[in-house]
Structure formats: structure tokens, C-alpha cells
């Protein structure tokens, strides 16, 4: 039972951890090298890792996908520890529109224009994105915004994520308080009443048993010093 509990907790932590890692914004320091558009045929495997057709357009089984090719500074520990190594990274650039995740991004074309502009120069930019690059399934992170920075060694404070996790903690504590109040005021009184009934029944049975054993005791020898309660 204990093992099942621990397993379930670890599983829940893992699922939520992966979900947050996928959905929350992350920042990469990159140089944009080029932009391109490829025709994409989604499969059942990778469809959920893409958003939708441009906001206001209609969804087709196949469509064009905007990509931003970059040279990215590698990091350790989700970008907290910078490194002097770079790699390539490709971002998709799709409208999230009014669907999940709630970035409400409608300006993919503008972002693509910005990226194309930055690709001409040699500037360092911070690219805000969510999602994963999974090569064997052709899945790309979705770029949300770009801004230029002076150099590759900028320190980025993830304000949104800080606020998000503080809010999450407050929400969890609040839900816990609500649940405890509900249990104390609504469930426990019901259980108490039920428990009281059980107690009454048990007391009645004990009383009847006591009477029978007392009656049996009258048939025992007089020198038996045992009391019926024993």
C-alpha cells in the first residue's frame, strides 16, 4: 500500500514536471542564421506537438510551417549554467491562438519578419519559446518572441516562471485549506453520526452478552471467586 502510494506520487510529480517543462516559457541565447518554410505532413504521433493553422485560417491535414534556424549557446540545468559550447537549434513559429498552451500568440508572421531581419546581421538574441526538440519525430519548440541582447553572456531572470510557481504554491495551499475545512465541517460530522450508531449497536450487544454470562455464573459453584466480568 505504501509502495503504491509512493509510486503514484512519483508518477504524478513526473507527469506534472514534464508538462510544466513543455508548456512554460524558456529562454535561449542564439544567433538567428536563417528562416524557412517547409511543407509539413503531420502524423498521429507528432500532431499533438504542433499548434494549428494560422489564427483565422482553416485547418488542413497538410500545411506550411515557419521555421527559424539558429546557432544556440548550450547550457546546463535548464539554462541556469551557461557554457562556451554552441549547437544548432530549429524553432517552429506557429500561432497558438486561443488553444492550448495559453500563449495567445497571433503574430507568427511578424515574428518571422523579425527573425528574417535578425538573420541578416550577426546579433545575439534571446528567443523565448516553449516545447521540445525531438528529432526522431520531427518535433520543434515553438518560438514566442525574440529580443536582441548585447552578448552571449546575459543573465536572464525567468520572471514569469517565478510568479507562476509562487501562484501555484498559493493555489495548492488554498485548495488544501478548502479540503480540510470541507472535511472538518461536512464529512467528519457524518462519520461521527455513523460511528455513534455503530457504538450504540456494539454497546447493546456487549450488554446482552454480559447478561448471559451473569446468568451462566449463577450455575457455577459458590466457591468460585471469579466475577462475571472476568
Amino acid at each position: 500500500m505504501r509502495k503504491i502510494k509512493i509510486t503514484l506520487r512519483v508518477l504524478a510529480l513526473l507527469i506534472f514536471g514534464l508538462l510544466f517543462h513543455y508548456v512554460l516559457p524558456q529562454h535561449d541565447v542564439v544567433k538567428i542564421t536563417s528562416t524557412e518554410i517547409i511543407r509539413t505532413d503531420f502524423s498521429a504521433l507528432n500532431r499533438i506537438f504542433y499548434a494549428q493553422a494560422d489564427s483565422g485560417a482553416t485547418e488542413q491535414p497538410t500545411r506550411d510551417l515557419r521555421l527559424i534556424n539558429t546557432q544556440k549557446q548550450k547550457t546546463f540545468l535548464l539554462g541556469f549554467i551557461p557554457r562556451d559550447v554552441s549547437t544548432v537549434m530549429v524553432y517552429r513559429n506557429e500561432d497558438t491562438g486561443w488553444i492550448w498552451p495559453p500563449y495567445f500568440k497571433f503574430d507568427s508572421s511578424d515574428l518571422q519578419a523579425e527573425a528574417a531581419n535578425l538573420a541578416k546581421g550577426d546579433e545575439w538574441v534571446v528567443i523565448t519559446h516553449y516545447g521540445w526538440r525531438i528529432r526522431w519525430a520531427s518535433i520543434y519548440p515553438n518560438a514566442i518572441a525574440v529580443r536582441t541582447v548585447p552578448g552571449p553572456d546575459v543573465s536572464i531572470i525567468p520572471w514569469f516562471n517565478i510568479v507562476f510557481f509562487v501562484f501555484l504554491m498559493v493555489a495548492i495551499l488554498f485548495i488544501r485549506a478548502m479540503w480540510r475545512q470541507f472535511r472538518e465541517r461536512s464529512i467528519d460530522p457524518l462519520l461521527d453520526t455513523a460511528g455513534h450508531h455503530v457504538d450504540e449497536v456494539q454497546a447493546g450487544m456487549a450488554e446482552r452478552k454480559g447478561r448471559i454470562s451473569r446468568w451462566l455464573g449463577t450455575w457455577r459453584k459458590k466457591d468460585n471467586t471469579r466475577t462475571p466480568s472476568e
Binding site: Y103, F104, M178, Q181
Partner: protein
């Protein structure tokens, strides 16, 4: 269409949160009133007096601004979404 879906499901989700918070807030207030009465009951206090005291306290609570503030549950997410739409879609 997606916008309509967001509005409909968002409204349902926020209504669930609104109802839970208002029930919780009322429950906390009632418990507080009960404890306040029990801590210092007046001379010759009986159940009727206790009920009247709690009913009076709950009426005061209902007329105060606190239950109306729970309506912010609807306002804050709309403001947050508007801010996100603005921040994300301006260069």
C-alpha cells in the same frame, strides 16, 4: 470558434472555482462565529440564542464586501488574458 470554446469552458471552470471559494468562505465565517459564541456565551445561553447569533453574523457577512470580492475570480483571469494577448503580440 476556438474563442467561443475558450469562453464557454473558461466560464464553466471559473464558475466551479467561484462556487467552491464562496462555500469555503461562508463555512470559515460560520465556524468563526460559532467559536466566538462558544468562547464567551452570555448568561442563560441556549441553542436558539446561538442560532440567532450565527444567523445575524451570516447576514452581516452577506451584506459586507467580502463575498462580492470573490467575483474577482472572473475579473482577474480576463485581465490576465488581455495582458498576455497584448504583451505577446506587440513587438
Amino acid at each position: 470558434m476556438q474563442f467561443v470554446r475558450l469562453v464557454v469552458f473558461g466560464f464553466i471552470a471559473l464558475s466551479v472555482i467561484y462556487l467552491s471559494i464562496s462555500l469555503y468562505s461562508r463555512s470559515v465565517r460560520r465556524e468563526w462565529l460559532e467559536k466566538e459564541f462558544d468562547a464567551d456565551p452570555p448568561e442563560g445561553a441556549d441553542d436558539a440564542m446561538r442560532d440567532a447569533y450565527i444567523a445575524k453574523g451570516m447576514t452581516e457577512y452577506n451584506n459586507s464586501i467580502r463575498p462580492k470580492l470573490i467575483g474577482l475570480v472572473y475579473v482577474v483571469p480576463i485581465v490576465a488574458v488581455s495582458v498576455i494577448v497584448y504583451v505577446i503580440n506587440t513587438n
